[in-house]
Symmetry: C2
Subunit: 691 residues, 2 copies
Amino acid sequence: MIRRYDFGHPYDTGAVVRQLPVCEDRVPHFAVAQDGCRVSFSAPLGENDMIFGLGESVRGINKRGHLYRAWNSDDFSHTENKASLYASHNLLLFSGKTGVFGAYFDDPGAVTFDLGYTRGDEAVITSENGDLSVYIIEGDTLIGLVREFRHLIGRSYLPPKWGLGYIQSRWGYASESDLRTVVKEHRERHIPLDTISMDIDYMEEYKDFTWNRETFPDMAGMIADLKADHIRVMPIIDAGVKVAPGDPTYEEGMANDYFCRKENGDVFIGAVWPGRAVFPDFLREDVRRWFGDKYRPLLETGVEAIWNDMNEPAIFYSEEGLAAAYQKADELREKNIAIHDYFALKDAFANMSNSMDDYRRFFHVIDGKPVRHDKVHNLFGAMMTKAGAQGMKAVRPGKRPLIFSRASFIGAHRDGGVWQGDNNAWWGHLLLNLKELAGLNMCGFLYTGADLGGFGCNTTEDLLLRWLQLGVFTPLMRNHAADGTRDQEIYRFRNWEDMRDVLTVRYALIPYLYSELVKAAEKNDMMFRPLAFDYPRDEDACRTEDQLMLGDGCMIAPVYEQNARGRHVYLPEDMLLVRFRSSTDYDLVPMQKGHHWLRLQLNEFPLFIRKGHVIPMAGAAEYVEAIDASALTLLGWLDHGTVITLYDDDGESDVIDFQAGLTVIDVQVKDGVVAARAEGRTVDASRVVLD
Amino acid sequence: MIRRYDFGHPYDTGAVVRQLPVCEDRVPHFAVAQDGCRVSFSAPLGENDMIFGLGESVRGINKRGHLYRAWNSDDFSHTENKASLYASHNLLLFSGKTGVFGAYFDDPGAVTFDLGYTRGDEAVITSENGDLSVYIIEGDTLIGLVREFRHLIGRSYLPPKWGLGYIQSRWGYASESDLRTVVKEHRERHIPLDTISMDIDYMEEYKDFTWNRETFPDMAGMIADLKADHIRVMPIIDAGVKVAPGDPTYEEGMANDYFCRKENGDVFIGAVWPGRAVFPDFLREDVRRWFGDKYRPLLETGVEAIWNDMNEPAIFYSEEGLAAAYQKADELREKNIAIHDYFALKDAFANMSNSMDDYRRFFHVIDGKPVRHDKVHNLFGAMMTKAGAQGMKAVRPGKRPLIFSRASFIGAHRDGGVWQGDNNAWWGHLLLNLKELAGLNMCGFLYTGADLGGFGCNTTEDLLLRWLQLGVFTPLMRNHAADGTRDQEIYRFRNWEDMRDVLTVRYALIPYLYSELVKAAEKNDMMFRPLAFDYPRDEDACRTEDQLMLGDGCMIAPVYEQNARGRHVYLPEDMLLVRFRSSTDYDLVPMQKGHHWLRLQLNEFPLFIRKGHVIPMAGAAEYVEAIDASALTLLGWLDHGTVITLYDDDGESDVIDFQAGLTVIDVQVKDGVVAARAEGRTVDASRVVLD
């Protein structure tokens, strides 16, 4: 059951899709305090209580012990101390001796979550503006709370099936020849690939909806050629529009008053990649329609996928902020710049980016009234995603668009996916990747994954290999890296064959992964779950932070430490270990419930299948459309027969006919022999392990 | 056996104390290549080869897979991608199928260590200047290589025994009343404490060897009062000397030409805390003698301990660097600052600190000749430590000084300790603390530890508690935090009693820890060892990165994850688990060799004692001199008798009479009863577990 409590004047954020009546009684579970316009919600924490939620955020699956802040931030250094990443997913799930409950803070402004940080025995959530709806979710189980919440916020976005293919990306692909070379190198080595993504380099002077006609003289022709090779092209679109007289996006936006303005009525100018830029007021429906429609020429050129970036929005500086930095520098010129002045000088330039001063300088128009940006900051990226998704659907009606975004807010989970932002080539970020999957799934973001190999800093051959071994399981599987870092396409490395072998597992599992993804969306379920959700009475499972349940039958446990040749793993029940080297080379090892040390060479990675379950694998393929899901091999460990269902469809229709898409796979065990059948498919059960 | 090979014109760095003849044959193990003045040493790496060494550095105990750079750096953000910390400890130990060998690169300039980073199957070490001695160490075991190397570089520094007491520190203790309050709060709660340390706030305008006469009106009186309360005072000394006409340090140094000069003969000016500062040429013996002698008035005021900081040296900016930053800013003023200019503008100010340009601007004088700083950069901090240690010894001849430093080079391990620099309140840095212990011990730095609780960022009550549980075992045990972060003295926290209880274990173990520390110094041994060193044929032990062997008989395995209620631990042999809550409250659990999951509540931490060994514990004490080591309790797990030795002495004499200091503790097991005796001590063996 969910109850709604309103404070101040809540905005319609679009996060929830079901209108609940506003309760007038006291908010359960929390003590509420008002301090000016701030409203705080406090709850005591028992010694061993756990807290889940917060979607895309740093630190543990159990969020207890840190101060988080809902404030979409362009900050590439995801260190432990950070309070904010690119998203604001204000869901908390509390689990303690007396049971579980959840709370969603539907507030588009800044909200802090002091979860046992100031005091270890208290959680305090504070809305800085005090205009919000709080939804209190009651239930018996953590997964039950999630399902209730997901029902409230509506069905998750689903990508086309080919969106589960491997995506190669880099900030630095600057020409047609760059793209063709990357594709060629993959195809020649039979490294599977479905999509190649273009970062800002393809644009003309970083102007949205343009491309450089010199380096991409025939974009349509190039896209058609790549398509013939079963490769899709995915360009980036940024939130800021270059101040460029003559540029149609700039001119139309100016003519129609689509850009955010300052209090004095001037259009707000902030710098991004192109320097001076203006910001569409994505919170307006007419602006979204206009901006979404700008995607059309790209799509008509053959583009089939888009990613939206810098939409927190990232603002390198405003005219005012830059002037203030210069003023500070001028003040200090010729002085003996000692300790305090030294930091002030450096900070003047370092802190002019994404500054709160700037976020207070411009306004949106909501219901005809100006609203200062900082009050609704966390909606900006979500509304840009909505604009893009609408624009893409208009061009290809009835088809699912492939779109994902950096910034997000709950609600955007219905419109597109998210990638986990500008991570680094750090082993610690491989583990963070796993942990974020759990939080994102709770909040409805199912199509997600991290930049495999790491975006910033230089990767190494072992880090990329290990990261691909996790990426095998994430719906969005993209290798992406920043300008100036080491080339990190698979074929650049000495051990590229091991990496290619990892990808063969991905493609063999796509029928299963796609089925689990659609099921999770249809049933408001999580594709990836903390072990605490499945085994709430198992203390060791509840505290497990480096494994996740996958779908109905599996568990993942990647290696995330350099030079490791194994890892500790906790099995909350008997499971079959599949120790993969490739889709055709793997060991099957039945393992008992309990703590284990698992040997895993560099080219090996585990998937665990719960005893009593089976999962299907397809054969090899180099792109999604080539996957032959009519011939499946089952993996599992059984002592008696079982029945599983596999969802499949045309991979692109917007309407999901869930029941029609289900195939029943019936597995029977008789006299020590296992046999399986499914309508319209051949099923090989010879690899199923019998007890 | 160690062989020496020279390249170019090696500097006398003071790292080694034994003169070896220069070999003329080819360097074994490495292919040597010359490129201009650069010299590279390449070695192939087998699939499972491991590399140890590099002292204080980021990442794993096994250093393989990263690019490190010997370049002492003032960089507070110890993320995975960093190449350098504050120290250059150029020792590598290779371990593979064909055996082990070591190499020490005695080069005071920049050296890069590409250890399977560019190519996974190759290590390439490059001296950028090509003037170095390479020492190739041959032996049968990793620990054997270390002993050979340590014999070459001379006996490690030993602190006075009270240096093992708990040290409370903070950048921010600005007055006598601040210090008195901190001491009072500890004493009132019976939280053990031996030393209180002062950061830069005590000085007058950040001038070395001064103190603020307003906030410390009677330094001698305060120190005497605190000493009566068994508390020592430890001020900081920085490398840069303020440009302050009238200040004796500045005036004397200028009059005697003690400061580094530029090529044009002007004294080099770089900014640190006081703004414009000059840098003593610590590489000159006469300058060291002068600077060390400047410590005398502080010592005569009652100070007994000193820490040296900012001696990489940290340079916030030079006059030239600042001018260049301003010039870049002026160039860009009024332009549309787009992508490249934006980064250039920010970097102009961000990168003016600790810049290579500055390190090339000034000169030392070696043997009467000018040597550009960057050629010998990594010696600077070591030579400052030498100056300080000599100065302290001159005031208290025959006594060990308590001194530790941020920057270091091998050789400085004979003069003082090091702390692990400006870490952060990150759980990841708790684990890094452990890993650095292993590397530092290999290189002779035994008196070391990290800033417990974390220096930068805000700590939490659970992080500080867990970190203290590791700090219990590190010879240098200091809680230190940066200005602007949360107060992190133990008494600030809700769970201070748990923290105090952790300290009771520290003080009870000091007789054992002191004994192991002195033994390690005397025998050129490591107090903390990777498991790979003790169990080289045990593959799981060799890859263990989160446990260390301690002394002869113990193993440590801290909890380093937030919200964890246990951890995986690998026992390479049967061991007794001591699950400590306090020095009097603990469980004794015999455990079998193998992988285990260990339950550990927040207030619990483990120490493992190898079966067949015992260790002694003393009773409670609130300062080191109050420890009664004449009555000891033994902990261990035996099936037959054993003999251990315990070293002890007056705790301060510079000359160690090792044999005279050893007490034999004879443990006998007869008819299921264990009894122990030692000359001059009462020994309680009733807690020893019998098989």
